[in-house]
Amino acid sequence: MPPASIYEQIHRFANRADPYTLYRELRETPVARQEDGSYVVSTYAEIVALLHDPRVSSDRRKLSQPPADEKLPPSFIAIDPPEHDRIRRLTMRHFGPPHAPRTVENLRGELLTLVTDLIDGISDRTRADIVEDVAYPFPVSVICRLLGVPRKDEPKFHGWAQEIVETIGPGEGDEAERNQRRQAARMALAQYLGELGRERRANPGDDILSGLVTYEGPEGKLTEVEVMTTATLLLIAGHETTVNLITNGMLTLLRNPELLDRLRNEPDLVIHTVEELLRFEPPVHFLPQRVALDDIVIGDVTIPRGSSIVLALASGSRDPRHLCDPDRFDPDRPYIQHLGFGGGIHACFGAPLARLEAQVALRELANRLVNPRLVADPPPYRPSSILRGPEHLVIEYDRVLPAADR
């Protein structure tokens, strides 16, 4: 056995709390060939170029050694134009511009109510788990409301969603077995959402799922399977990533308490705080799924056609050639450019919602918790190195201030 590569070490659970030291080593070889023939790209400029490079596919079926066909086809995050563009457009028209430009903005009041209620819920004690008490239930409620999934079904879909997230990309345990678990969970979740979609078709509401099953325009409409894969993607992405953004945010603020003070006095600061978080402690660390459709030359490395490409987003956002002092958390940076939402045609679909959720949650937590502090640093982490975040974030505080007038 050759010694573990840096990339392999990153995926070891023991390195979950601090992968950044390893990212620094990773960046010494901006395009690093792995034992299995895949290429890990870890520097900012090179990642940005590949995100916008039409020679890079997101469809694993185009690998020189493609995976076995899954029963359920990939969702739009894992396919290419023109199919990707059509499905994403048919989905976006129910969520954002140009057809639904105010969807996210109109949620602002509702988001604040949700967060306020959750923080009210921990006001009778002096100890809470940010994950269990705020960062998880908040985005779940939001995505349920937006997508049109009954909140009471959360126990049902939570297990599937977690199984899918924990088995994305490399991890500990047998690859084939992980793959099988992921497929089974994805199928179960898709069938659940497909069933829900059929109900919506008969009885549509103002939610995205109803839009997906009922809309038909000049470009046609989504097939039943496309509705299933799309709704599955939105449900998972809609909360499994935002929980990490909010939790990572609170963790970072508690490690920089002067920022907590500033947030109380400078309401606008939360905007750049969340951007800097997306750079400094992003929820998504890797895009492990890209494929070179042709030979791609980067510096003195040629990525051969058919190779797997891994984009190390979280490493790129801390590339010292991209910005000064990358390992310092500093919302006052003049330009915060990050890879927190990826980029190119697959740039995060839900980015405006994630931003607003994190801003509302962090601003309220900063405003209302009196003297909050970490109980354990580092906190325990979830298994995934791809979608990385704490399993729990237990904090103590003196008391909770009442919510400001709304």
Partner: protein
């Protein structure tokens, strides 16, 4: 949304949008005040320029639009602490022109809301509403129309261009005939469009004409577009893509007439426009006409200055230093924006003037930097031309120079859906790319142009056809760089030899 001066309610949304903008194209408070480069040596060079000049020199910028305003900001950002004078013939601070043919005509943005942000906070002596009439390089003075003489150590020429007027003044004076270049033009046009119009005649189907036609349709007004060439946008994009634009216009409902010119504009006894006679013998009834025949560079005030200035603009080197009539590069006279004509190394050192927003910004930055830097630290203006247009619900973007191409090929997307990438080549190298609703790929093609990548592209791509089929681009015959520039050379001794313009007979 287009808002240069948001109220408090809008402020958070703007901050949010700016923070979210992946290319930081939205410059909020930071306009021209901070470098984005992380290299402190590049951001704040330590050994540049004449320190005394930076502390107490006099810089005059003639032209108070995008390029002039941006240069002023950059000069202050990079430590110029001397006297800075900005001369403009319009009574407004620098404002933004692209929205004039879009949001302003639509009525979504008031014309006065296009004023570019933040210039007022830069310490500038601002001489508005008075045009410059003469540049005296020997005496280092700019002379204004009211006789004032403004002395300088260094001067930046950024007087840009104006709309080319309808050639016959009596017809141009008819009530209902418009041009679109300035804030006041847009204001007048907007008022006319809302006052009730039966049909709008657009003369010229370049970008401005096409955008105006698009807005008219959006406002529910019938439009006839008359284009002398065989298709819209042909000057910039060539006939192949122009044909696609023609289909797009017709599908949207434009009465588009190509290969036709307007022979005469006609009016009634009260001097109101009633219509036009066309070169094919047909007529158009219209109570409003928009003359969109391109721009004329504002060089008249430079007559006698000794610079190589004429209808082609002001010749400059790639570092924005003006070239005089003898072809000598000047030390203290700089040029930026629409009026500059400079050699671009990426495009065979061809002298080009680029009437694009992005060029004005980039070139102004280079000019400003070079004005306060010594020769070891000067920058070349090497940015690739980029422009965009929104028309008929489609976003068109371009990088590089399509008009020098000999071939064009669709590399991605679908022409039928009007979502595609067209790549232009010249002698086997990629020279430009144009996208219709596919702007996300533009950066890739920009790097292809910068690397002089082979044409046609020979790689597999997402959303690409099975086989690439390049066709002749059919760009218009290129116009010689300095058309009409005739000089005579006199003197025998090298110390005596000089060039001077031959004036065409009046």
């Amino acid at each position: 949304m287009y808002d240069t001066d948001p109220d408090d309610a809008q402020r958070e949304r703007v901050l949010q949008a700016a923070a979210a903008c992946p290319v930081q194209a939205i410059h909020i408070d930071r306009m021209a005040t901070q470098h984005r480069t992380r290299d402190p040596e590049l951001a704040h060079p330590t050994t540049v320029g004449d320190e005394e000049f930076k502390r107490g020199g006099r810089i005059v910028i003639v032209g108070a639009s995008l390029a002039g305003g941006r240069a002023a900001g950059v000069l202050r950002r990079d430590g110029f602490a001397g006297t800075l004078t900005l001369i403009g013939d319009e009574p407004y601070p620098p404002y933004d022109r692209p929205p004039l043919s879009k949001q302003v005509l639509m009525g979504k943005v008031a014309p006065q809301r296009t004023v570019l942000p933040r210039l007022r906070e830069i310490d500038v002596e601002w001489l508005a509403g008075t045009p410059a009439t003469r540049l005296d390089i020997a005496a280092k003075q700019v002379v204004l129309a009211d006789g004032r003489q403004i002395g300088f150590d260094k001067v930046l020429i950024a007087t840009g261009a104006r709309a080319r007027p309808w050639p016959r003044p009596d017809e141009a004076a008819l009530d209902g005939v418009h041009v679109l270049r300035t804030l006041e033009d847009a204001d007048r046009m907007r008022q006319r469009l809302t006052a009730g119009v039966n049909r709008v005649l657009v003369i010229g189907a370049g970008f401005t004409g096409s955008e105006v036609a698009s807005v008219c349709l959006d406002l529910g007004l019938p439009v006839t577009v008359v284009e002398a060439g065989p298709a819209p946008l042909i000057g910039a994009l060539g006939k192949v893509i122009g044909q696609i634009a023609a289909d797009m216009q017709r599908a949207a409902g434009v009465d588009l007439r190509c290969d036709v010119t307007v022979s005469a504009l006609e009016g009634d006894a009260n001097g109101r426009l009633t219509g036009a006679r066309l070169s094919d013998g047909s007529t158009v009834e219209a109570d409003m006409a928009v003359v969109a025949l391109g721009a004329v560079r504002n060089v008249e005030w430079l007559e006698g200055s000794g610079l190589a200035a004429g209808p082609w603009g002001v010749a400059a080197d790639a570092g924005c230093r003006a070239v005089d009539i003898n072809g000598l590069v000047t030390d203290d006279v700089f040029v930026a924006g629409d009026i500059a004509r400079f050699p671009h190394p990426v495009f065979h050192y061809e002298f080009m003037s680029l009437e694009h927003w992005g060029n004005a910004v980039a070139q102004a930055e280079v000019a400003a930097h070079n004005m306060i830097s010594d020769q070891a630290h000067r920058w070349p203006h090497l940015s690739l031309p980029v422009f965009w247009s929104n028309q008929f619900g489609t976003n068109i973007k371009s990088v590089g120079v399509p008009s020098i191409a000999d071939e064009v090929v669709i590399t991605q997307g679908s022409v039928e859906e009007r979502r595609f990438v067209a790549v232009y080549g010249y002698r086997g190298r990629i020279t430009a790319a144009v996208t219709f609703d596919q702007a996300m790929w533009l950066d890739f093609y920009r790097s292809q142009i910068e690397q002089a990548a082979p044409f046609p592209p020979d790689f597999r791509m997402v959303g690409g056809p099975d086989q690439l089929r390049p066709v002749p681009a059919e760009v218009r015959q290129r116009i010689a760089a300095a058309q009409g520039a005739t000089v005579v050379v006199t003197g025998h001794d090298p110390a005596e030899r000089r060039a001077s313009f031959v004036r065409p007979p009046q």
